[in-house]
Point group: C2
Chain length 260, copies 2
DNA sequence: AACGTCGTACGATAATAACGAACAAAAGGA
DNA sequence: TCCTTTTGTTCGTTATTATCGTACGACGTT
């Protein structure tokens, strides 16, 4: 993430508050009332009510008439689809990633980075009964995910420094939180052209990831093949290294990448 | 649409303006500049700039550094996915609709209504080379689409009156814009349990549609089987009537509907 | 029936958003 | 190459609005 260009003092408070309301909803919090939102955001009830009324007027939230609670509205569905449909990378990558899923029977993710995190922009599950509890639209930290490390490996030092200087949470016993060790991971990721998540973001979950490059050779996205540790053995990793690298090269080629 | 409960005078202007900015982007207008947006929305440039800065700060828009233009941001993608994933109807309907597509080799849509329009919440294309130029997230009027008429047929008279009393645009030579004739269409749709779009929204496009009911027997959604007129012949329509009705009954059953 | 909680309405005013002017940078045309 | 035009951005003033506090009706609980 490049340095923030616009001063925070130029932000419009009421707009910022309305956006915060939208961000408060989640998979766990599908419906929220006026008082609930006020408590979470530290706003007066009548302030919250006015913001909600404005959001509702244009369909960004919807009120459940019988309970009085609010949920995210269809307008976000529409705008979200505009964003999705404008992602050429996603369309290009899908059939290629589907082949990988079909052949190796594991979940594949496609991610981009945004504001120091990875965002999952596509996910293709295998037919396995045991799959990964991730979802399109989810965010995860970069320092302890395979895809995140693959992206960080190619970012400028300042971006990396910025991330490594903030508090690094240990999600599992395997999460690497020592900045120097993370940097070693990044060096290896760059050398190898791929890297692993060895139960770093979630216990029992391993993945192999590789970067995708655009026509300028810039790393803009990454993919991962993920699975439960019981299936993602070292042998399976060995099997996956070349196919994963070939897959990202194939996608990169279609984006105009001409390097090796 | 029920009567608007909240007074327009209680809306917050700056929030409303920010939402208008988001709504200005479209498939045709993926990137917009400050001055462009100001001209479209009738705002001062510095006002627009402040609104965009606030939206960008939370990831609702993104600025292309090299061109200075803005586009919708990843946060909308994330929130849009929250909305999509919360649509149980969509998940329930998908496999059932897929069977219909596979069997009859035509595009199927799933729609809901919102603020007097239909919104496409799912679309399954067939493998045909010639398909329908619609997309998930798109809105269309209700009075001249098969799905729209199916929904209007079960709505209270006030909702229908409200729609029919606004200006009805003729999209094709076949668009019915006489309110009395539209009402006849709705009576027929209710009697038959299905209805047609006979090149009313778009020349060369026909569909057969039917309503989906929830556990209370309320019509909450509709599906359509659509295709080019050269394929959607009267014979094909005859073939599709029962399967389409059976499909919507199947979906309605899974939503708890117990009627006939 | 009484009490507590929630969503909503409304008016006063403190705080902010809007606007206008100005500037730097970039693009386009001569 | 130079000049003009356009765009994005900044900043200060003030008109306007968003926020807050109070109050009320509806609903749920005891």
């Amino acid at each position: 993430m490049q340095k923030q260009k616009k001063s925070k003092s130029s932000l419009i408070q009421s707009v910022d508050r309305a956006l915060q309301i939208l961000e408060t909803f989640s998979r766990e919090k599908k419906e929220l009332g006026v008082t609930e939102l006020s408590n979470i955001l530290g706003l007066h009830k009548s302030t919250t009510f006015g913001l909600l009324a404005t959001l509702e007027n244009r369909g960004f939230v919807d009120q459940n008439i019988s309970t009085g609670k609010y949920k995210l509205g269809l307008k976000l569905f529409e705008l979200g689809n505009l964003v999705k449909d404008s992602m050429e990378l996603r369309a290009i990558a899908y059939p290629i990633l589907k082949e990988l899923v079909d052949k190796y029977e594991e979940t594949v993710h496609l991610v981009v980075h945004d504001k120091g995190e990875v965002v999952y922009i596509d996910k293709i599950d295998s037919n396995s009964a045991i799959n990964i509890n991730s979802y399109v639209g989810k965010r995860n930290p970069m320092y302890c995910t395979g895809v995140g490390k693959c992206l960080l490996a190619y970012m400028d030092a300042e971006y990396v420094e910025n991330i490594l200087s903030s508090e690094l949470k240990a999600y599992t016993a395997n999460t690497i939180v020592d900045p120097e060790k993370i940097k070693d991971e990044l060096v290896n990721a760059r050398l190898n052209g791929y890297c692993f998540d060895n139960e770093e973001i979630e216990e029992g979950l391993r993945c192999i990831a590789a970067p995708i490059k655009n026509h300028l050779g810039q790393v803009i996205a990454a993919i991962s093949v993920s699975g439960p540790s019981m299936r993602m053995t070292d042998q399976k990793f060995d099997l996956l290294i070349e196919p994963v690298k070939e897959t990202t090269l194939k996608i990169s080629r279609q984006l105009g990448y001409r390097g090796v």
